[in-house]
């Protein structure tokens, strides 16, 4: 397979181009996605190619465009709704939670809701508390939804294509700082299946489950610790719901140690869920208390030193590794 290095934004853009070309029932609606190609260029060129009817520049009405997505899905379309920042999902919760997620179940299987709602998580760039939230754990808590968070261009493209083809409502949260990061993406078409974790690095000492940027932090830590003889296994669930728990517990059974890295707030975050799930079946395999590396329990502040203090970084991952390997002396002092 021929591959090139492209950014995550470009990879997502390709996925949209391909799926819209492949299936006329796919359409997009969102703020500034057409004429402007999206604030982060994810929908670049789509309106020009597919027309303003299929790439709709919407009013600023997050609830209505999400609701319209549900309605269009019910009659046979495959809508892709963009939230300009994922924080604005707070305005669409009713349509997502009480409608998209439940419509099939409440109907006893009479309908399906093939809907994708996607958008950026823009932490780390100084946009402050209302534009920086990593809210994935809310949606993991909503039966009926599929939840995806990619960590690289390859997965992003393949998962978005899978999401569009899936007959269920899918939420996809994309870290904005990853939009401009490049990675290898095949020229041929491919799909990354929903519900399948990816072992980004095999290792024997500690299982590190990373979510989105958490994967990249884990891989950085792994590279650094390699020199110190600590061998991390890095797992990227990619799909948070359904969660490929077997891949994670298999790893924990091998390593006996678990660290989970996620950028959501600590309390009630997805990291807690991974820990609890692992205990269900792999408690006996654990050699140490699992450690969660998360954002602090504060809103995200504006000023750089504050935001840095609140979001998890490489050093936090290294500290966590030390914590689960109490017999090792402090690792990875940077």
């Amino acid at each position: 397979m021929k591959t090139r290095e492209i950014t995550m934004a470009a990879a997502l853009n390709e996925a949209l181009h391909e799926e819209m070309a492949r299936d006329e029932s796919v359409f997009m609606i969102g703020e500034d996605i057409g004429r402007n190609g999206g604030l982060f260029k994810v929908s670049d060129g789509l309106q020009k190619r597919f027309g303003a009817a299929r790439v709709v520049d919407s009013p600023i009405s997050e609830a209505a465009i999400s609701g319209a997505g549900v309605g269009a899905a019910l009659v046979g379309c495959r809508p892709v709704v963009e939230l300009q920042h994922f924080d604005f999902v707070t305005l669409a919760m009713d349509q997502i939670v009480n409608h998209a997620a439940k419509w099939r179940y409440m109907s006893g299987g009479n309908v399906r809701v093939p809907l994708v709602i996607r958008g950026p998580v823009a932490n780390g760039v100084g946009l402050a508390a209302q534009h920086s939230q990593s809210l994935e754990s809310w949606f993991v808590h909503v039966p009926g939804l599929v939840v995806i968070m990619p960590s690289n261009p390859y997965d992003a493209k393949g998962l978005l294509k899978a999401a569009i083809r899936d007959d269920n409502p899918v939420l996809m949260m994309e870290k904005r700082l990853l939009y401009t990061k490049s990675g290898p993406v095949p020229e041929e078409e491919y799909i990354v299946p929903i519900g399948v974790a990816d072992v980004k690095r095999t290792g024997s000492d500690v299982t590190v489950v990373g979510i989105s940027q958490g994967v990249n932090l884990a891989l950085q830590a792994a590279r650094q610790l390699e020199r110190e003889g600590v061998d991390l296994e890095v797992i990227d669930p990619r799909t948070l719901k359904p969660l490929d728990i077997d891949t994670i517990t298999d790893s924990v059974r091998k390593t006996g140690r678990l660290v989970v890295v996620s950028e959501g707030a600590r309390a009630g975050g997805f990291a807690s869920e991974v820990v609890a799930r692992v205990l269900d079946t792999a408690y006996d395999a654990l050699k140490a208390a699992p450690v969660r590396v998360t954002a602090a329990d504060t809103p995200i502040p504006y000023a750089a030193p504050l935001e840095r203090a609140v979001l998890p970084g490489l050093q936090d991952v290294l500290t966590a590794i030390t914590a689960v390997m109490p017999n090792k002396t402090k690792v990875g002092s940077v």
Binding site: E24, A63, A68, G69, G71, Y105, G108, N110, V146
Partner: protein, 332 residues
């Protein structure tokens, strides 16, 4: 009487539907009182002319969305009373296999996109269904039923505006029954007619006597042709009254006896019967229609009561549509 274009023959089906709705709702309340209906149920009594008049203007490929007070919409759209009653009683033979109950009856095979327990919850859904149909090259129109109370939700505003700019073939039918639960409509909005709110979206808004089934059908027909011509949405306010308490559960909050007495004189069924009488239909024939409705609902109730409840194992089904990853039955 030019409203009765094709004589009484075309009116009798409207009467039948209204009678069936009335009988159905009375039966549901009885069953609730017998503790056979869980949760709640919101009778459509007094408002029958709206659903029947509107749905009379729709074709087979059209869609409707509905509300917590949805039985009337379902029946007017042609759903089977037996399977509806089975759903309301939580039986497997119900439209939703017992998972939805009174507030969530859905039947795609009838273009019934779903009742909705969230006030104002289906405004956006209706717009999307309408716009989606256009994209798919269907010739469908979508009717979005909702209450006066729902006209104060933000979703009303966003959806009407979105429908307007998309020229979506959707008809917003506001059933103004003067009350939202215990709260009189005049205390939660100051606009004279809810249809005046159409101004905000530069779309037609019309208020109609919601107890006059023919008048309702007429404005609906006009809105439907407009929508089919690609000229976009219409807001119809049907002024009516609920002649029952808000719900079988919340019975304490009904309106004043005077108000009820006043509106009883405008009972939509009596209004149609009067027209029929004036057109020469005999009492006997009207009694027959009444009896037919009663026995239809009796049969439906019997069917439902005999149907079995869903087995507990079914609780975990239907969360997800079939998918590769769902094959293993994974829920989380």
């Amino acid at each position: 009487m030019n409203r009765v274009a094709n004589g009484v023959d075309e009116l009798l089906p409207l009467l039948d539907q209204m009678l069936v709705i009335r009988a159905f709702e009375k039966r549901v309340v009885e069953l609730f009182d017998q503790k056979l209906v869980r949760g709640s149920a919101h009778p459509y009594i007094g408002m029958e002319a709206i659903a029947v008049g509107i749905c009379a203007a729709l074709g087979e490929n059209d869609y409707i969305t509905s509300t917590h007070r949805g039985h009337g919409h379902c029946l007017a759209r042609g759903l089977e009373p037996g399977r509806m009653m089975a759903e309301i009683l939580g039986r497997e033979a119900g439209y939703c296999r017992g998972k939805g109950g009174s507030m969530h009856i859905t039947a795609m095979e009838h273009g019934m996109l779903g009742a909705d327990g969230i006030v104002g919850g289906s405004h956006g859904i209706a717009v999307g269904a309408a716009y989606g149909s256009v994209l798919l090259g269907q010739d469908s129109v979508v009717v979005c039923f909702f209450g006066d109370g729902a006209a104060n939700e933000g979703s009303f505003h966003e959806a009407l505006n979105l429908a307007s700019v998309l020229s979506a073939p959707v008809i917003f039918v506001c059933e103004n029954n003067q009350w939202a639960l215990s709260t009189p409509t005049r205390s939660t909005m100051r606009v004279e007619n809810i249809s005046d709110r159409a101004v905000s979206y530069a779309i037609p808004g019309v208020s109609v006597d919601g107890n006059d089934v023919l008048a309702v059908r007429e404005v609906a027909a006009e809105a439907v042709s407009r929508a089919r011509r690609g000229e976009g949405p219409t807001l119809i306010e049907a002024k009516s009254y609920r002649m029952s308490p808000h719900s079988a559960f919340a019975t304490g909050e009904t309106s004043t006896p005077e108000e009820l007495a006043e509106w009883s004189l405008k009972d939509p069924i009596n209004r149609l019967v009067d027209i029929l009488r004036a057109s020469g239909v005999e009492e006997d024939r009207i009694r027959k229609h009444n009896e037919n409705a009663a026995s239809l609902i009796e049969a439906a109730t019997e069917f439902a009561l005999e149907a079995s409840p869903p087995p507990a194992e079914q609780a975990i089904h239907d969360v997800y549509a079939p998918a590769d990853w769902a094959r293993e039955g994974r829920l989380s």
